[in-house]
Point group: D3
Chain length 133, copies 6
């Protein structure tokens, strides 16, 4: 059970409902994830976090599918069960196929392996990579 | 200095040189990163790791640029300095613009934040996300 | 089920019971958490760990509530479910209100975000921060 | 060198300068940390991140010093060198004494140890901790 | 439920069955872990990962038991529940006693503690450790 | 520079000197690592941490070399530069050959990869692994 419990739409304050409404409209869905219902215990944090997520995940130089896959990559690296489950679902909704998912996993796994090999062998950064862009 | 030192091309065994040659040919470059030079102390690991990286990073359901950005996302989450430096360079070479980089960072940062909010609020996975694909 | 099972008070050796008794007396409770019951398989580790925890969590330059919140912050960052559950309960017992909890989460989330932005942008430490205290 | 370089006040756009001005006014200082100068490459991210940090780190149910120490706890757990250096400095400015710092480190170290003991022994959450608040 | 479901032996393609057969022969068992059944959705990744694991975990300069304990140490540090459960079982099968397990946990716990103390105190690497091998 | 500076033997209090003397006697060396010199700012933490390390790293069910390699495995997974440098040196002193080191790295890298594959594919723990010991 969430630490402070979940706040359902019916019992939500107008401030919280406004955020819930915007989430549903933006995502074209009629349900609110448990994450937002838990965060609603802190209406200011709910608003701030949703505004940030909305701004960051909107189409830009990167398309929404790529952004969702990056979100999955981070969540898998952190081994956050909830985040993996919810963002894998979001990535699928955004168009991720099974083949794209398995390739995503392969890259994430390999990156976690080589990250440690680099550290373990105490490899110094190549001069060419230090020169900035 | 790398734990066991770096192995330069001139001093490399034929087995190691074969891998170096394949890396340079595949990546269309004339230099070898320190990572491979350090790993070359274990020729079997060098071959295995390179074959895996080559297979995983080849174009498939995901394009090479997307893969490199995912690699950066993992490396940033793990805070691996060498990996961030080398894969940011690789992503740029594959076409990552400044705008794509800054959006990538925004998603990675936000994902690391919400991963912890989810854990801290002890949010249970929504039933709909448990139903599998 | 815990790897080596849990050791209940009734079946515990005198050495383990002595630690259990001290835990209950120090914490003014009549129950022992599963953590200690699992660790009791290694009586030396049980004693050492409890002595360290007792010494570290005692009132000092920082008050017990602040210490418990720091414990929660670390556990959330590591995403350790058991630790989050038990130390959130301990922090509440020490006086953490709902408002303190939600602010704690906000700081933890934000710190995890900016930690990655710093790494991803490869920001160098400001000279003024290198000068020591 | 930061990936995209640092943006100094003199060369900053009016939008970036406004954020820099607010940072200096809020923190009562006449310098801008490298973190903000690096993030300024993405003015939208600069504004969003600063607004969030400003809102989260303001006095509330938790005092500024406690918040800075929590920030340090997270940064140490993530082993983010820049973040440890800058937030240790900020915590000191907010009143952290040497004795408070060493106690903070002791709690952070112990929490990281017991987090792993819990995971390694595969300890199940006590029923009493599952019952919510 | 695994994201893409599990592939049982009966429904597996000849390519996947060949890997399953090799796993069972190498490990002298008649069952396949869920990990491989999940990974089988990507036959190329299944083959590559199994070949790497087989090569790496074979007896060499380090014996199989030591390797399994190192696997457990990493999994505990990453707090990966599945990995801790499966590799603790594998380590026991390879000869790990209860006493070895509890000592393993003590080292893993202590290393996670001192890793953070080192970072938090911002300790510089001793010159003698920089001199390479 | 370490946050609170290093305490050299000559300037150390009798309490700190006693710990330094025990470290040098136990490890049969005439130098003290920077880690202990930094921690000496908190004599109680210095004593407690050294006593724990001394107790945990002593020969027992696991030999000192195996323990040092486990320490390296954890430090590499956490990517703690200081810890990798100092414990790799300690492992070598305890008898770790180059071949043992490269195999250690291979296992650590592979474990970090499969830890993420397991999480990413959301693999459930096999019933047989849940049955305890």
């Amino acid at each position: 059970m969430a630490t402070l419990g979940l706040i359902e739409y019916q019992e939500a304050s107008p401030e919280v409902r406004a955020v819930y409404d915007d989430i549903m409209a933006t995502r074209q869905t009629d349900r609110i994830n448990n994450f937002w219902k838990a965060l609603a215990r802190d209406p200011v944090a709910l608003r701030r976090t949703w505004q940030s997520v909305k701004e960051i995940m909107a189409p830009g130089a990167l398309d929404p599918l790529t952004k969702e896959m990056i979100y999955v990559a981070v969540s898998v690296t952190n081994q956050c069960s909830y985040c993996i489950a919810s963002h894998t679902a979001a990535a699928r909704k955004a168009g991720m196929t099974d083949a794209m998912f398995t390739e995503l996993m392969a890259v994430v796994g390999m990156a976690n392996e080589t990250n440690r090999l680099v550290s373990g062998y105490q490899v110094e950064i190549d001069e060419v990579f230090k020169a900035g862009s």
